[in-house]
């Protein structure tokens, strides 16, 4: 009987239900669709790209679960049972999947791997205009280092990133009429008690040593980074945040090669911070233009009769057992 299907239990004549796609499969399909839209029809993911997409899914999934766990920490079982229906719950159903797919395509096309520490940080922000979470796939400092090396106009042989402490000795040796190669002298004199961080540097070496470059990172750079970040993050991760600043300052000095990569995509990934601000401005401006200061609401004071009779609506008291400790 051509065209008939049989369920595995042998019951004839019943259509075999198509298995529902898993969230992971749906994510891959979203990204493939976006990939084809970006790269042109007929372009397929390589095995590596497919793996990177799967890694992105796992990383975002972990980030959502961690955020939801944090949000619902200490909740009662009853409240937890209803938590998934909450529009603010960190679940895949509340994520702007189209934006995520596009951002994933861009990062995967650069070879960024979300499961390598500090390549990608997925962070969910509730976008009140859309009523969905935007997932920012922020590129970490190791990811920036990887992408910049890979797509640099001239690929460096190596890049050294160092923090300089108060007991270290450091001497910068700039290029001059008597010195053809830029360099430095760096000595750790007290390796197990190096004192306070006083600065940092990066040293980029090339085939042609005359192109080697020393990039200095000062306390002013650290302070600027600290001011732009959450201060408690710096307090908890002092050394890593200083080192991260060194990475950012150093890779920022390297020139990218437009022949190796779609520079617009690269800019959107590495400099999407600037876009984030513009997008936020546009979203709020549009919402403001469409809905702000429109609907009149008003209220009148009660007459003495109403007030004394207590006829106004009484707010509900959230009564529970007395709060412990009071």
């Amino acid at each position: 009987m051509s065209g008939d299907v049989t369920k595995s239990n042998g019951t004839p004549g019943q259509a075999l239900a198509k298995p529902k796609a898993t969230l992971s499969e749906r994510f891959l399909a979203d990204v493939e669709r976006q990939f084809m839209a970006e790269m042109g029809r007929g372009v397929q993911f390589t095995a590596l790209e497919q793996r990177l997409v799967q890694h992105m899914y796992l990383s975002v999934d972990q980030a959502l679960k961690a955020a939801e766990e944090k949000r619902t920490k200490g909740w009662t079982e009853e409240k937890l049972a209803a938590a998934a229906d909450d529009p603010r719950a960190f679940t895949w159903h509340h994520v702007d999947r189209q934006k995520l797919a596009l951002d994933t395509v861009h990062r995967v096309s650069l070879g960024l791997d979300a499961l390598i520490p500090n390549h990608i940080w997925p962070i969910a922000y509730f976008n009140s205009a859309k009523g969905l979470y935007d997932i920012d796939l922020r590129v970490g400092y190791i990811g920036r280092d990887y992408v910049t090396r890979r797509f640099a106009l001239e690929e460096p042989l190596s890049i050294a990133y160092e923090l300089v402490y108060s007991t270290d000795t450091f001497k910068a040796l700039p290029r001059s009429s008597s010195r053809e190669v830029e360099g430095y002298e760096f000595e750790i004199t007290s390796p197990f008690d190096r004192g306070d961080i006083v600065g940092g540097f990066g040293y980029i070496t090339y085939d042609d040593p005359r192109k080697n470059r020393l990039v200095l990172v000062t306390q002013r750079d650290f302070k600027r980074s600290q001011a732009a970040s959450k201060s408690d993050f710096w307090a908890k991760n002092d050394v890593e945040m200083h080192l991260k600043t060194v990475y950012h300052r150093v890779v920022g000095k390297m020139t990218l090669d437009p022949a190796k990569v779609n520079v617009e995509v690269l800019a959107s990934v590495l400099e999407d911070d600037r876009d984030a601000v513009d997008v936020a401005h546009v979203e709020v401006e549009v919402a403001h233009r469409n809905v702000a200061n429109r609907q009149l609401v008003d209220v009148q004071p009660p007459t003495a009769d109403v007030e004394s009779a207590g006829e106004a609506t009484e707010p509900e008291s959230l009564f529970a057992e007395a709060t412990p400790g009071f």
């Binding site: 600037r274 809905v291 702000a292 009149l296 609401v297 009660p302 009484e314 009564f319």
Partner: protein
């Protein structure tokens, strides 16, 4: 006569008081340590009619559990109440946007604002019919209001200042985007206040100015030109 005082305003904490002749005072927000709150209101905490809390962030709700323990009724949105005191309290009252309610002689109308957690603004009316509008921690306000005597409105940042700080790397871009989506710019505050700039408006208070992204003097001058009545900038320790 209706009056508004700001004891603390900004991301470090918010505490405001509304008074009127013959009315027990009403607090708005409780985002400071309880001892600071006691000092601010002259240790007359139990004399207040109640406290309105816009949302659950600590800079607005820090002292709530102490207030309810001192028998001060606190009024806030349902989700906010649950977020602040999960087990509830008989002095913690859940109110709904659009549903007016009474606190003694005061009539209060809460309305929804646009923040990253549920957040309410309040239209407070005295027995004599004088109205105070309180709006803070919102990207914008959907509503318009009439016959407001005192407007206390957030003016968190200036778009120009914020963009400049992002461009020169001083301000983290993602932090800036969050500010834009959750707080009112001076530009949007100006448009809102323009709709109120008719009698009986007699004073404006600018609230929750960001330390780095605003300019108190410029904001004050800009809004004074629009509303034509005295404009006060609220800040920590300021009794406007």
């Amino acid at each position: 006569m209706l009056a508004f005082e700001a004891f603390a305003s900004g991301s470090a904490g918010n505490l405001y008081r509304v008074t009127a002749d013959g009315h027990p005072p009403l607090l708005i927000e409780a985002g400071v340590a309880y001892k600071a709150l006691q000092r601010a209101v002259g240790f007359g905490v139990t004399q207040v009619a109640g406290c309105l809390v816009s949302h659950a962030h600590l800079d607005h709700s820090r002292a709530v559990e102490y207030l309810v323990a001192q028998a001060v009724p606190v009024y806030t949105g349902r989700e906010t109440a649950e977020a602040i005191l999960e087990r509830g309290h008989h002095n913690l009252h859940a109110v709904d946007a659009g549903q007016e309610f009474q606190i003694g002689p005061w009539t209060v109308l809460p309305f929804d604002l646009v923040h990253d957690v549920p957040c309410l603004g309040f239209l407070v009316v005295s027995r004599a019919g004088e109205k105070l509008l309180y709006i803070s921690d919102t990207a914008y306000c959907e509503y318009r209001f009439e016959n407001v005597a005192i407007a206390a409105v957030e003016a968190n940042y200036s778009r120009g200042i914020l963009d400049r700080l992002v461009d020169n790397g001083t301000l983290n871009q993602h932090h800036a985007a969050r500010v834009i989506r959750n707080h009112m710019s001076i530009e949007h505050a100006a448009q809102l206040l323009q709709t109120l700039a008719v009698p009986p408006l007699r004073e404006v208070h600018l609230l929750h100015l960001s330390e780095g992204n605003s300019s108190a003097q410029d904001f004050q001058a800009q809004i004074e030109r629009i509303v034509g009545v005295p404009v006060y900038v609220a800040g920590e320790g300021v009794r406007a």
